[in-house]
């Protein structure tokens, strides 16, 4: 063993995961991704369960990579707390912003009257201005 390799081994604590376990984790992540794809292409089968199922599978993959590949499971709790802090804040921001803009009427120029007032009526007439498309 070289001096460099010996020095690294003597000063570092290694996570107990083996190569075989890492490969198995990679396989599990691949299988979950295939299931996600299948679910995405089979929307009618899952119906309203599709979006929650996709989020759960995504969260599972996220957690597995962070815990096992980034070794957060084996690290000092301070690192876990630091990362969780940023993750919770980021997730809270996504939720807050999405909820804030959930109702499109709050976006419309002129407020809710915009949708019930003359502008919409004009748009509905033949030759009138087209209503904004929402996709």
């Amino acid at each position: 063993m070289s001096h460099e390799a010996h020095a690294a081994e003597s000063h570092e604590e290694h996570p107990p995961t083996t190569i075989r376990e890492y490969v198995m984790i990679g396989l599990v992540l691949t299988v979950v991704t295939i299931v996600e794809l299948w679910a995405s292409y089979n929307e009618p089968i899952l119906g309203s369960l599709l979006v929650p199922a996709l989020f759960i599978m995504s969260a599972f993959k996220f957690a597995v990579v962070v815990a096992m590949f980034m070794h957060l499971r084996f690290e000092h709790s301070l690192l876990w707390k630091l990362f969780s802090f940023g993750l919770v804040l980021g997730t809270a921001m996504i939720l807050a912003m999405t909820l804030l803009f959930w109702n499109d009427a709050t976006d419309a120029v002129g407020g809710p009257e915009f949708h019930t007032g003359s502008t919409l009526n004009e748009a509905s007439k033949p030759g009138g201005a087209p209503a904004p498309a929402k996709h």
Binding site: S2, E4, A5, H6, A7, A8, E9, H11, E12, H14, T17, I19, Y22, I25, G26, L29, T30, T33, E36, L37, A39, S40, Y41, E43, L50, V51, L54, F55, M57, S58, K61, F62, V65, V66, M68, F69, M70, E75, H76, L78, L79, L82, F83, F85, G86, L87, L89, G90, T91, M93, I94, A96, M97, T98, F101, D107, P132, A133, K134, H135
Partner: protein, 202 residues
């Protein structure tokens, strides 16, 4: 006695009072701040993706099979990266170098898929300023692509440094571990982006 004890410590160790190397703490703080950065971009995409007044719209243009292939490539790059970290921590330098090279190549492959996707979108009429969906989509995925590019350069620099006569020195395992943390973070962010942009019905 104290001087002798001091001499046995490698000059490059920077442990905090809790026994964690402060460079590792710094990397985790950086990654936590990146959660907020991508959180802002993802919420912007969620708000604006449905507000386009003109096409192309998401369901008309997103190519799920191609992006699934690029997602698989990035996922496999995480596996090769963790094996590179394993090699560095267990003194298996050959394995470390091969896996680092594989990670770099897979990262370049992912960027190739992204360049192909962007080119296709532009040919189909979706640019950065075409509509709200285009703006938010390109900003989010481009910033992720920029992170992958930085990661590729980071890993490439480590690969080149490991081939020097002195290698990466006493802190080799830590250097590879820190690069691995960054690379895996880029992967987990893509896991979220892939689900939100491509898999959830528009």
């Amino acid at each position: 006695m104290a001087a002798a004890a001091h001499e046995t410590q490698p000059a490059t160790q920077h442990h905090t009072t809790m026994g964690i190397d402060n460079r590792k703490v710094l990397m985790w703080i950086f990654l936590a701040s990146e959660c907020l950065f991508f959180g802002a971009l993802i919420s912007t995409y969620l708000i604006f993706k449905g507000d386009s007044l003109v096409g192309p719209y998401p369901k008309e243009i997103l190519n799920i099979p191609v992006t699934s292939a690029s997602t698989f490539v990035l996922l496999m790059s995480s596996l090769t990266m963790v094996l590179a970290v394993y090699g560095a921590q267990h003194g298996r330098l050959g394995m470390m170098k091969v896996m680092l090279l594989a990670t770099v190549l897979l990262g370049i492959g992912f960027l190739g898929f992204q360049a192909y996707e962007f080119t296709e979108f532009v040919h189909e009429g979706l640019g950065l300023t075409t509509n709200q969906f285009g703006s938010s989509f390109f900003v989010l995925t481009s910033f992720h692509g920029a992170h992958v590019t930085v990661g590729v350069l980071y890993l490439l620099s480590l690969l080149l440094a490991s081939n020097r006569r002195t290698g990466l020195g006493h802190d080799r395992a830590l250097h590879i571990d820190l690069a691995g943390l960054y690379w895996h973070f880029v992967d987990v962010i893509w896991i979220v982006i892939f689900t939100i942009i491509y898999l959830i019905p528009n």
